[in-house]
């Protein structure tokens, strides 16, 4: 049976060889870079704004018990109901029970990666509840029966022709090559569903402790509709999404938009405090929030990588990552792709099976520079590699580095080894040697010099 690493190697080998698709992804991200630069430049000081955002999350995460208690008390005093889930299975059960209790015939969902993390749609469908994704990208991915490609831009890998074919097949609409017409097809199709759905499921971007609100960021308005029309609103959120005060949003909302999507603010940033209140016209009768641990407390217990809980899921690290851009989102095989996914997936799903993602990085650090909340992403990849050595013994690596170290501890041996390598390179290059043979498959080495630096230096001293 293939394990997660061999699937990754297989998938990433295929996708990194697809020049057209890689160019398509680079082109798609071109507009993002341009707009991000424009809107970042409007900040009086982007670096200090990153400091502020980082501190806001740091102080909440490092006082998580108190901040969470405060939030929950406030949320419930607003009329909402909080449910706690230790893991994915418990979260699924809570949500299924709530949906069943609502006698729901139709469920509408807005984009929420945490529901992807717990595989909620599968569970709802198996239990006989029809569920429809309302975010355009997620709607397309649901029709394709495929996981999101990028946790902010779910279908960025698809060309318009593919989407048109998909709509023709599933919705019976006429083919079109206009993104606008395709968007309107989805708009028209989903509109009635907001009205008829009994339950709306959303995520949450921030849980605001001092006011007991949850904050949802989106562009399309589908989350607004999902939380406005159905009788019951269920939100699912990781426990790490909590922040101290509503004032923290002053920095977090704009930075999420600018870092993640190259926008000044996303189109809708909405704060929900409880269900419909007396005197209000519409809104759900019930408002439930499921707070999920699912190994987040394990990350919390690692002070070295605790800051990965600062993540606001903006996707900036994916957008700048040369690995992501060349292998694409599906090769990862994870809910969270890109650098942040490579950092946290070993915590969420086990270091033994997921440490290869931390290895699959040149450690260039573009992610760390792009992160609006200053997560030390690429150094965490290094730490995962170190941790993996302890839990997954790799005999080849151990022997290779042990031998390498034996040689570099002895300058004469190092010098001799280098000489032998250079003198026999003409022969070695034809042998299927590990590492050297792999290098030479796609790249040359420079002309091998007759003398090493140390030899040339010694000669120059003797002249």
């Amino acid at each position: 049976m293939l394990n997660s690493k061999s699937i990754f190697i297989k998938e990433s080998t295929l996708t990194s060889a697809d020049g057209d698709q890689r160019q398509f992804i680079r082109t798609a991200l071109g507009g993002y870079y341009k707009n991000r630069d424009i809107y970042q430049a409007r900040y009086r000081n982007w670096e200090l704004a990153r400091d502020a955002a980082s501190l806001a999350k740091w102080s909440a995460v490092n006082n998580l018990a108190e901040v969470l208690e405060k939030f929950v008390a406030k949320f419930e005093s607003n009329g909402g109901k909080v449910h706690w889930a230790r893991d994915a299975a418990e979260a699924r059960k809570i949500i299924l029970d709530l949906v069943a209790k609502a006698n729901a015939t139709a469920v509408i969902k807005s984009k929420c990666m945490t529901t992807e993390e717990i595989h909620l749609n599968d569970a709802l469908e198996k239990a006989g509840f029809g569920v429809v994704e309302s975010d355009l990208g997620e709607f397309i991915q649901q029709l394709r029966g495929e996981a999101p490609y990028h946790f902010v831009f779910p279908c960025m890998h698809l060309k318009r022709e593919a989407i048109s074919e998909l709509f023709t097949k599933h919705l019976g609409t006429a083919p079109t090559d206009s993104p606008e017409e395709l968007t309107m097809i989805a708009r028209k199709h989903l509109r009635k569903l907001y009205i008829t759905a009994d339950v709306g499921i959303t995520g949450a971007n921030f849980l605001v402790a001092d006011t007991g609100q949850i904050s949802i960021t989106e562009n399309e308005g589908n989350a607004r509709l999902t939380a406005a029309m159905p009788r019951v609103h269920i939100a699912l959120s990781g426990i790490e999404k909590v922040i101290n005060t509503i004032d923290d949003l002053t920095v977090l909302l704009p930075m999420l938009a600018t870092a993640g999507a190259g926008q000044p603010m996303t189109c809708y940033n909405t704060l929900y405090a409880g269900p419909k209140k007396p005197g209000e016209l519409d809104g759900p009768e019930e408002f439930h929030l499921v707070l999920l641990d699912n190994a987040r407390t394990q990350i919390l217990a690692d002070p070295e990588q605790r800051d990965s809980l600062h993540c606001i899921r903006c996707g900036a690290c994916l957008n700048v990552c040369p690995i992501f851009k060349n292998i694409g989102g599906h090769a990862y095989g994870t809910t969270y792709q890109g650098p942040i996914g490579s950092v946290i997936t070993p915590h969420l799903r086990g270091l033994k099976d997921w440490n290869h993602l931390s290895g699959a990085s040149s450690l260039c650090g573009a992610c760390t520079d792009a992160c609006p909340v200053r997560i030390d992403l690429h150094h965490h990849l290094l730490q995962n590699r170190r941790n993996a050595v302890k839990v997954v013994p790799n005999l080849f690596d151990r022997v290779f580095h042990g031998t390498f170290n034996f040689v570099i501890q002895r300058p004469a041996l190092f010098s001799l080894g280098g000489k032998v390598f250079r003198k026999t390179f003409g022969l070695l290059k034809h042998l299927p040697l590990p590492y050297l043979g792999t290098w030479l498959k796609s790249r040359d080495l420079p002309a091998i010099p007759p003398k090493s630096f140390r030899e040339a230096w010694k000669d120059s001293k003797n002249v």
Binding site: Y32, E47, L48, R50, D51, A52, L55, A56, W58, N62, L64, A65, L68, N78, G79, H83, A85, R86, L136, G137, F153, R160, I163, P179, L190, I195, Q213, N219, E220, G221, N222, R224, L225, A227, A228, I239, T250, V251, P264, M265, C267, N269, T270, A273, G274, P275, K276, K277, E280, D282, L291, D293, T297, L300, A301, P303, E304, D307, H310, R374
Partner: protein, 222 residues
């Protein structure tokens, strides 16, 4: 207290027994006031208005500063005729009602006969707002004072009527005002609307009107 809650809180407390250092910051101050680093807002009212106008234009929202309510009424009448708005849903409010009533026959108040289906059929949602943030061109609406949750999102066109003194320079001032105005009793929904609904999900190409309004008008009465 549920078992799960107890267990999760226990795990959190256990995990936090080992402190983690403060993040590496670029700035020297440990107490960083983030609002000071956000985009400039200008010092004078005129600069604030110019910024608002510029932001709304970039967001592809229509901005109409008018001198008085009569001009607002005339503008909406004109728009209704040109755009063939037949079914305008509005909520009762000192600014909104006179405008709605002026378009006789075509407007109905959600406060009087609310129904989801009726709202779904509306051409336009006409609302007031809580405030307007010049820094980003964001319009803040609430479920309590802007006609509920659906009126500002379900109809394909959203027209907002506000007074010029509802414009606040930046997001920080806006949150400060929210805290004062609503205090401990937040409306069930507060929403910042920053331009008409949009998506870039297909090839990262911008399309307006994904699920929410395709058109957004802000009529600002001096």
């Amino acid at each position: 207290m549920s078992e799960a809650r107890k267990e999760i809180m226990g795990r959190i407390r256990e995990a936090l027994k080992t402190p983690s250092p403060k993040p590496h910051l670029k700035g020297e101050s440990s107490k960083v006031a983030g609002k000071a680093w956000l985009p400039e807002v200008g010092d004078t009212d005129a600069e604030t208005m110019a910024l608002l106008s510029d932001n709304l234009a970039k967001l592809k929202a229509s901005f109409h500063p008018v001198e008085n309510l009569d001009q607002a009424i005339a503008l909406v009448k004109d728009l209704a005729q040109k755009k063939n708005w037949k079914n305008i849903a509005y909520h009762k409010n000192e600014l909104v009602t006179p405008v709605a009533l002026a378009i006789a026959g075509n407007a109905w108040a959600v406060d009087e006969a609310f129904s989801k289906d009726k709202l779904e059929a509306a051409d336009v949602g006409l609302t007031s707002c809580v405030s307007i943030v010049a820094q980003f061109g964001a319009i803040l609406v609430s479920s309590e004072t802007s006609g509920g949750r659906g009126l500002s999102i379900l109809p394909p066109v959203h027209v907002v009527i506000a007074k010029a003194d509802q414009v606040v320079p930046d997001l920080a001032a806006c949150f400060a005002q929210i805290n004062v105005q609503f205090g401990g009793k937040m409306p069930s929904m507060l929403s910042f609307i920053t331009g008409p609904s949009r998506t870039g999900d297909i090839e990262r190409i911008l399309v307006l009107g994904a699920h929410g309004p395709k058109e957004l008008y802000l009529i600002l009465v001096r």
